[in-house]
């Protein structure tokens, strides 16, 4: 792969990879770092890249793996604990903020609150418009598993929204 091709890939997929990483990390700065890592890894590991494989799938797989590695790291867990602490400190303020948020914002927060395995299939399916087969290939699982996770993810989302007094209206 020459530099020009790589540059084109960065320009065409960079923003999407960034957004994908954000859906995992919920932190734009970290998402940007992971995006950089993803592309650098993609470039340096190109000899492993099977030309017959779809560049997009390969790139997204690297990104997903990088994100999951990060989510399993001590650094992420530490960040989570800090966030919990901060939420506890400003509990009342958060409550007020939530009240003021519109329903769309609340829905997004519920999606963010879903477990990763449900969140990722929802994001790929609804935002990136991937098919369940494509998602299954990316996540190295069966299509049925993807479908099940999609269904359960939506169910959980509905339950969460009902608790909050909102209907999502999704099928």
């Amino acid at each position: 792969m020459n530099l020009r091709t790589f540059e084109e890939i960065v320009h065409s997929h960079g923003d999407y990879i960034l957004r994908l990483c954000y859906t995992y990390t919920k932190d734009w700065q970290m998402a940007e770092d992971l995006t950089q890592e993803t592309f650098i890894r993609f470039y340096t590991a190109q000899e492993k890249f099977r030309q017959e494989a779809d560049v997009k799938t390969y790139l997204y797989r690297i990104a997903v793996n990088r994100c999951k590695t990060y989510l399993a790291s001590w650094r992420y867990k530490q960040t989570q604990l800090i966030e919990i602490g901060q939420k506890l400190i400003s509990k009342d303020n958060v409550a007020l903020q939530i009240e003021r948020k519109d329903e769309a914002k609340q829905l997004y927060e519920k999606i963010e609150g879903l477990p990763v395995k449900y969140r990722e299939v929802l994001v790929f399916y609804h935002y990136f418009d991937w098919t369940t087969a494509q998602i299954a290939e990316l996540l190295s699982c069966s299509e049925n598993t993807v479908k099940t996770r999609l269904r359960r993810g939506r169910q959980q989302l509905s339950q969460l929204l009902e608790k909050g007094g909102i209907t999502d209206g999704s099928d």
Binding site: G14, E32, Q36, I40, H126, Y127, D171
Partner: protein
């Protein structure tokens, strides 16, 4: 558009990879490596805190050994002392045959009272009881010496009985006991401002505190709050350790200064100093510093003094000071020694000698005609000894 897609699009759309990030990717610049400095800083601080936690710079063990060597269990020693000495309080004023005592009461008080905030004796008494008993010992000592009061005293079976009797006895003894030096001490207490710290200790404080502060600022800046909390916890634990005591209590003694002062005073009196002096223990009684310093030739000096703006002042506290004897000769010195204190107050004594039946063991020549405590080390096998006093002509004083 389904709501999930709409929400995701609203939230994510428009977010773009920054030009800087793109440039870094295209130039193959890996993102900054994970920063290990906070972890290293935290480990360093924890190591320092643990070091302070595990290090007792006040030589607690030798102090315990010194107290044990002198008395064994201090509570029992006090009871024995009281039963042995208190009959003297029943003598008619002015009829006391031996107004002098061996100074054990003084050492017992050292063992009872605080040493930089920590008790080091094995006494079973509580803090307040220790002070009461210490006061009682003090007044008994004074009353016997002055021999100007008569008090009925019953022997006691235990230290608890003594504690019960103590307040009543103190109130009987106190009005008749003159203690001009106490007043002096109280006045001097107003001026107390101990500033003469060991430089090394000060440097240690500054380094440790700076390190701690820098680490905490750094860790907070990079949001390593859990590590910060851990570091602060360890630091707090370490601050309770004796290492910090002189920092927190500016009137606390400093070992090096005490030894230097004793050494200096001895040299001023032309007393031979052999080898490195070692502080056996130090204590504070009535807010006056007392140090027991031993030398390699077996000489042990008990010195009592106070400080004025970090400088030793030798006036006003000569009552017990070691600086009023002009010469000490240790005649016999063996290993396995015990400590014996000689005490003499009088206006006609020039020399005091510690001896037993076979030979004399140590002697000291008094420089001034004032009450003096001289501290000797004598052979451990010594079961009994006597003090012999001589006048300026070398004649025995009866």
């Amino acid at each position: 558009m389904d709501p999930i897609k709409k929400v995701l699009t609203d939230e994510l759309e428009g977010k773009k990879l920054s030009q800087e990030a793109k440039q870094k990717i295209l130039t193959m610049k890996p993102r900054k490596k994970r920063n290990f400095i906070p972890q290293i800083a935290a480990i360093c601080i924890c190591a320092v805190a643990l070091f302070l936690f595990l290090t007792n710079t006040e030589k607690k063990a030798p102090q315990m050994e010194a107290a044990n060597a002198m008395f064994g269990p201090v509570d029992e020693a006090i009871v024995d002392y009281f039963n042995k000495e208190s009959p003297k309080l029943q003598m008619e004023p002015g009829k006391q045959e031996d107004p002098f005592h061996n100074g054990d009461a003084y050492l017992m008080r050292l063992a009872l009272e605080q040493n930089s905030g920590q008790f080091y004796s094995d006494s079973s008494l509580t803090k307040s009881e220790r002070y009461i008993v210490s006061e009682l010992l003090h007044y008994i000592q004074e009353a016997i010496w002055h021999n100007n009061t008569r008090v009925e005293v019953n022997p006691v079976q235990s230290i608890d009985q003594l504690v019960e009797q103590a307040p009543a006895l103190i109130s009987q003894l106190k009005p008749n006991v003159e203690m001009p030096y106490m007043k002096t001490v109280d006045e001097k207490q107003q001026q107390w401002n101990y500033t003469s710290f060991d430089k090394k200790r000060w440097i240690s404080y500054v380094v440790v505190l700076a390190l701690l502060l820098a680490a905490i600022i750094y860790l907070i800046k990079y949001k390593h709050f859990i590590i910060v909390a851990f570091v602060i916890f360890l630091a707090l634990v370490s601050f309770s350790q004796p290492f910090w005591q002189p920092f927190k209590d500016v009137s606390a003694y400093d070992e090096k200064t005490l030894i230097e002062v004793v050494e200096h005073e001895l040299k001023k009196m032309n007393i031979r100093v052999v080898g490195q002096p070692e502080l056996q223990y130090a204590a504070s009684i009535h807010k006056v510093r007392t140090a027991l310093v031993s030398f390699e030739d077996g000489m042990t000096v008990l010195a009592e003094f106070d400080y004025n703006n970090g400088r030793y002042i030798n006036h006003g506290m000569t009552w017990h000071s070691g600086n009023i004897f002009s010469n000490i000769s240790i005649v016999q010195n063996e290993q396995n020694t015990i400590n014996v204190m000689a005490f003499k107050a009088g206006h006609h004594v020039a020399k005091v000698r510690i001896e037993n039946e076979q030979n004399y063991l140590a002697e000291a020549t008094l420089k001034e005609q004032k009450p003096t405590i001289i501290y000797f080390k004598t052979p451990k096998g010594l079961s009994s000894y006597s003090r012999v006093y001589f006048d300026a002509n070398g004649e025995r004083v009866q």
